[in-house]
C-alpha cells in the first residue's frame, strides 16, 4: 500500500516535472501555441471546403439531377459530375492537365532564371550586381496580371487575338505565333518571370551565406568541379530549391489572373478559371472540388519536400567560425552576363512600368497624340464619364490606400514575427512531432487557394462576429502569408549552428535577449525579407480579400478590380500607385535597416 502510494506520487510528480520541463523551453511553448492556433485556422476552413463538395447549395438546384433535394443535403453529384460524367473532360481533366503543365513549366522557369541570377550575383564577380539585385524583384512586386497585360500588348499582332498591333509589330513589323501570346506557353513564362524572385531570394540567401571554405576544402582535396557541385553546393542549396519549387508550383496552381488574361481566345482553361466560373454561378460543390485538388497537389509536393529535407543531415552554414566568400572570376563574361540579365530585367520590370505610366496619360489607350494628366490630377470627374476624379483627388483611392498600407503592415508584422518564432522553434526541436506539425501547419495556408480561403473566412467570420471587420482581413492575411515568413525563418535557423545560442546560454542570457541580441542580428537580412515578402504580397493581393473587403475596408486591389473592367486609364494609374508604394516602402526599409527583399541575396 505504502509502496503504491509512493509510486503514484512519484508518477504524478514525474508527469508534473516533465510538463514543467517541457514548458520551460520557449521553443516548446511557441510550438504548442502555433499548433493549436494554426490547426484551428487551417484545418477548419479545409473541413468546410470538403464538406461543401458533398452538399447541395441553393443555386445547384438548377441541375435536374438535384431538383427536389434540400439545401445542405448530402450528395455525390458534384464529384460524379467532375470526375466521371461526359463533362468531366471539359470541366476537370483538361483544366487539371493544363494547370499542372503550366505550374511545372513556370516552376522550372522560375528556378532556372532566379537560380542562375542568384548564383551570378552571390558567387561571381559579375558587373552591376546592385542594380540587377534591386530591379530583379520588380515583377514580384507588380500584380501578376500587369506582366500578363504587358506581354499581350508587346507581342500582339493584327493576325491574332484582339486584331491590333502590339509594340513589337508596330516598331519592327515582327509577328509571333498565337501560341506565344495566348495559351500555355505565355502563361507559364509570365508566371515563371513573376515568381523568379522567389527562387532568387531563397536560393540566393543560402548561396550568400555559404562558407566558401567548404568548396575550397574540396578543391584542395582534388574533387572535380562536378563533384563539388553534386556533393557540396547542391545538397546545401537543395532545401531552397525544393522550397522554391513548392512555392512556385502551388502559387501557379492557384494563379487566376494570368491564365484568365492570356488563356483568352485559345480556350486555355486551368482549375482556377473554371473554379471561378462555378463559384460565380453559385455552384460551389463543383468549384471546391477543384480547390481540393489544388490543395492535394500542394500536399504531395509538401510531402516530397518533407521527405527530402527529413532525409538529409543538417547543414549549418553560418557558424561562429570565420567564413569568407571568394568570387568566381568570369573574365569578359562578367560584362556579357550582366548585359543579358539587365536587358531581361528591363523587359519584364521596367518596360511594363513605363507603358503603364504612358497608358495612364492617354485619353485613347495607345494613341500618344491624346496625352492628358487628368487621370492623375483632375479635381473634378474625368472625361471618361464615370464620375471618378483624378487619382490624387479621388477620396476612394485615399481610403483604400490607407487601408491597404495598414493591412499590409499588420500582416507583415504578424506573419513575420510568427515566422521567426516558428523558424526558431522548429529548428531547435527538429524531428519532434510538434516541430513537424507546426512546420506543416504554418505552410498549409499556402496551399489553400486564396479565393477558397477568403470564402472560408467569410463563413467563420459570421459566427465569430467578425464579418466586415479589419481584424478579419488582418487575420486571414497574417495566416495566408505566414508560409513566406516561416519558410525564410526555418531556412535561416537551420543554417545557424546551435553553438551560437549555446554560448549565450552558458552565460545565462535570458531567452528574449538571445533572440533579440544574438539570433536576429545574425540572420537579419533573411528575417527582414520574412517581413517584406508578406507586406509586398499583401499590397497586391486580390483574390484573398475580394470577398472580405468592402465599403469602409476597401483596398487598393479591390478598387483596382472594380476599375479594371471599365476604366482602363484610371486603373493603370492606380496600379502604378500600388507598385510605387511597395517600391517606396522597400526603399525606406532598406535605408532604415539596411535590409530589403533582395538584400537576402546581397549584391
Amino acid at each position: 500500500m505504502e509502496n503504491l502510494q509512493v509510486s503514484t506520487v512519484s508518477g504524478k510528480r514525474r508527469l508534473k516535472n516533465s510538463i514543467k520541463a517541457f514548458f520551460t523551453e520557449p521553443a516548446n511553448i511557441i510550438l504548442a501555441i502555433s499548433v493549436v492556433v494554426l490547426g484551428f485556422f487551417t484545418i477548419y476552413p479545409m473541413v468546410l471546403l470538403i464538406s461543401d463538395t458533398a452538399r447541395v447549395h441553393i443555386a445547384e438546384i438548377m441541375f435536374k439531377e438535384l431538383r427536389g433535394l434540400k439545401v445542405g443535403q448530402f450528395t455525390f453529384f458534384h464529384w460524379f459530375r467532375m470526375l466521371f460524367s461526359d463533362m468531366s473532360g471539359v470541366y476537370f481533366w483538361n483544366p487539371l492537365k493544363n494547370a499542372v503543365l503550366m505550374s511545372l513549366l513556370s516552376s522550372l522557369i522560375a528556378i532556372a532564371y532566379g537560380g542562375v541570377v542568384a548564383f551570378l550575383i552571390t558567387r561571381t564577380d559579375m558587373n552591376c550586381k546592385k542594380f540587377i539585385s534591386s530591379v530583379f524583384i520588380f515583377p514580384y512586386i507588380m500584380p501578376s496580371w500587369t506582366l500578363a497585360s504587358f506581354w499581350k500588348n508587346f507581342f500582339q499582332n493584327p493576325e491574332i487575338g484582339s486584331g491590333t498591333g502590339g509594340f513589337l509589330f508596330n516598331l519592327f513589323g515582327w509577328k509571333v505565333s498565337e501560341g506565344f501570346v495566348y495559351g500555355l506557353v505565355p502563361c507559364a513564362i509570365v508566371l515563371g518571370l513573376h515568381y523568379a524572385p522567389f527562387a532568387y531570394i531563397l536560393i540566393g540567401g543560402i548561396l550568400r551565406n555559404m562558407d566558401a571554405n567548404l568548396e575550397e576544402a574540396a578543391t584542395v582535396l582534388k574533387a572535380s568541379r562536378m563533384k563539388i557541385i553534386r556533393r557540396i553546393t547542391l545538397p546545401i542549396v537543395l532545401p531552397a530549391l525544393l522550397s522554391t519549387f513548392l512555392l512556385v508550383f502551388s502559387s501557379s496552381m492557384s494563379a487566376y489572373a494570368v491564365p484568365q488574361f492570356l488563356g483568352g481566345s485559345s480556350g486555355f482553361t486551368v482549375l482556377t478559371t473554371t473554379m471561378k466560373q462555378f463559384i460565380n454561378s453559385g455552384w460551389y460543390g463543383q468549384g471546391y472540388i477543384m480547390a481540393i485538388f489544388m490543395i492535394l497537389f500542394g500536399l504531395i509536393i509538401l510531402g516530397l519536400n518533407q521527405y527530402a529535407t527529413g532525409k538529409r543531415k543538417s547543414f549549418t552554414t553560418v557558424t561562429g567560425k570565420s567564413g569568407q566568400i571568394s568570387y568566381i572570376k568570369m573574365g569578359v563574361w562578367k560584362h556579357i552576363a550582366a548585359g543579358i540579365i539587365i536587358a531581361l530585367c528591363l523587359f519584364c520590370s521596367v518596360l511594363p512600368l513605363v507603358t503603364f505610366a504612358l497608358e495612364s496619360l492617354c485619353v485613347i489607350p495607345g494613341d500618344y497624340s491624346t496625352l492628358t494628366l487628368e487621370f492623375w490630377i483632375s479635381k473634378t470627374a474625368t472625361s471618361s464619364g464615370n464620375g471618378i476624379r483624378g487619382l490624387f483627388y479621388e477620396p476612394q483611392v485615399w481610403t483604400a490606400f490607407k487601408n491597404s498600407l495598414l493591412l499590409s503592415a499588420t500582416c507583415a508584422v504578424t506573419a513575420g514575427t510568427m515566422g521567426i518564432l516558428i523558424g526558431y522553434s522548429v529548428a531547435k526541436k527538429r524531428g519532434t512531432f510538434l516541430a513537424k506539425a507546426a512546420d506543416n501547419l504554418a505552410f498549409l495556408p499556402y496551399l489553400m487557394p486564396s479565393m477558397a480561403m477568403g470564402a472560408a473566412f467569410l463563413a467563420i467570420g459570421g459566427p465569430l462576429g467578425l464579418s466586415k471587420t479589419f481584424f478579419l482581413l488582418a487575420l486571414v492575411g497574417g495566416i495566408k502569408y505566414l508560409p513566406f515568413a516561416s519558410r525564410s525563418g526555418i531556412n535561416a535557423m537551420l543554417q545557424l549552428s546551435g553553438e551560437i545560442e549555446e554560448a549565450a546560454l552558458i552565460v545565462n542570457v535570458p531567452w528574449w535577449k538571445r533572440m533579440v541580441r544574438v539570433i536576429f542580428p545574425i540572420q537579419r537580412s533573411t528575417f527582414i525579407s520574412g517581413y517584406l515578402l508578406p507586406f509586398t504580397s499583401c499590397m497586391r493581393e486580390l483574390s484573398l480579400f475580394t470577398l472580405l473587403a468592402s465599403g469602409s475596408t476597401v483596398l487598393l486591389t479591390t478598387l483596382l478590380e472594380d476599375w479594371q473592367a471599365w476604366w482602363t486609364q484610371s486603373a493603370n494609374a492606380l496600379n502604378l500607385l500600388i507598385i510605387i508604394t511597395v517600391l517606396a516602402v522597400n526603399f525606406l526599409v532598406n535605408k532604415l535597416t539596411g535590409a530589403s527583399i533582395d538584400k537576402g541575396v546581397g549584391g
Binding site: 490547426g39 484551428f40 484545418i43 477548419y44 473541413v47 468546410l48 464538406s51 441553393i58 443555386a59 438546384i61 438548377m62 435536374k64 439545401v71 445542405g72 463533362m87 471539359v90 493584327p158 484582339s162 486584331g163 491590333t164 498591333g165 495566348y182 484568365q260 483568352g264 481566345s265 482553361t269 478559371t273 466560373q277 463559384i279 460565380n280 454561378s281 453559385g282 492617354c362 485619353v363 485613347i364 489607350p365 472625361s383 471618361s384 464619364g385 464620375g387 506539425a437 467569410l458 463563413a459 467570420g461 459570421g462 459566427p463 462576429g465 464579418s467 466586415k468 475580394t546 470577398l547 468592402s550 465599403g551 472594380d562 479594371q564 473592367a565 471599365w566 476604366w567 482602363t568 486609364q569
Partner: protein
Amino acid sequence: MKKLLCMLLVLSMALLAFTACGGDNGKDATIYEKAQEMTWDELFELAKAETGDFNAYGNTSRIKDAMTAFVAKYGAELGLSDSNAVGTKMSDSEIYTTIESEYQSAGNSKGASMVMIQDGATLLTYINGTEYFANYVPKAYADKLDKSAVTPLVQQYINKLIMWNNVGSDSAVITNVWQLTEASMKGKVYFKSPKNEQVNMNFLIMCTSKEWSDKLADAYKAYFGKNIELGTYKNAGYKWVAEFLNNANFSINSDTTIAGDLSKPENTGKAGLFVLSKLRDKSVVSDNLTVAAFADGVAPFSGFMYPMYCQIAQKGPRPYTAMLFIEYLMTEEGFQPWGKSIGAYSSNPALAALEGDQPLSFWMEKLVFEDPQYIMDNKAEITDFVNKIIG
C-alpha cells in the same frame, strides 16, 4: 499525436455545426406586404425609428453615387451620414456569399439592408429556396411598371448591342445575325467570354428558347432562302449559338477595351456585341462605330437587354430605409447616376430616354430580353453546351 488531431477535428466539426445552424430566420414576411400598401410618408416615419448602419450592395459601381445623393437629401432626418450609409459594388456571387454570412450571424447591425442583383435566374433560386431576400414594389409604381418588371422588381435595364467598325464603308456589315456565323466573320466578332460574363451566357441561353429559336429559324430562311437543317441541334437557337461561338473572338476581357479596339481604323469590317454606354467613353472613337439598331437593324435581333433587380435583405437592420431607397431609385433623381449616360433605362416608363438614345419601348422590339424563369430551368444544360464548344 492522434489525439491532438482528433481534438482539432472535433473542434472544427463543432464549429461547422454551429455555423450551419445559423441565427434566427428573417423578418415576418407580412411587413413587406403591409409596406407595399404604405405611402412614402408613412414609410418615412417608420424608417426614422430604425437604427444601425444602412448598407447596400450592388453589382453596379454607381450604387455609391446613388447612396451619396440619397444621404445628402434624407440623411439628416433618417440619421444617416457618409459613415453609416454606404453603397458598395460587389459581384452577384460576392453579394450572395456576404448576405448568406450576414443572415446567419446573430447581430447584423452592419449588414446590408438592400441589394441590386444582375442575374435573375440565380436570384430566383435564392428567392425560392431561402429567406434572404424580400421583394418590395413601391406603391406609387405598382400599377405603372410592366408586368415582367414587378417580381422580382427590375430597377433598370442595360443593353449590349451589335456594332461594327464602319471605316471606309457606308454599307452595313451585317443585316442578319446568321452572317455572324459565316466563315468570312471567323475571329471578327468581339464578345466577352460567356464564361466570365453571366449576362452574355444568359443571352445565349435565351436564344435557345422557343420564341427566339423560332425567330432564328425564320431569319435563317430569310437569309439563306431555304429551311434550316438542324442536324444534331435541338433547335435553331442551339445551332446559331454553336456557330456564333465558333466565330466569336474572346481575346478581350473588358467591354471598354472591346469598344476601344473595335473603333481603331485597322479593324474595319469587324463587329462586336457590347454595352452601348461605351460609345460615350472618350477612349472610343465612336464615329468609327455603327450601332446596328440605329442603322437598318439586324434580323431577328440587334443585341440583348439585361435587367438589374432590387431586393430587400430580410435580415438587414433597416428594412424601411431600404424601401425608401428603392423607391428613390425609381425616381428620375435616384436614377440619375445611371441615367446620365446612354445605354441604361429605368423600368419606370415615365422617365424619358437621353438624347441620341431610344426609350425602353423601342428596345423591346429589337432586343433579346431575359426571362429569368427560362434561364433558371435551362442554365445548367446550356452552360454545358456552351463550354463544350469554347473549351
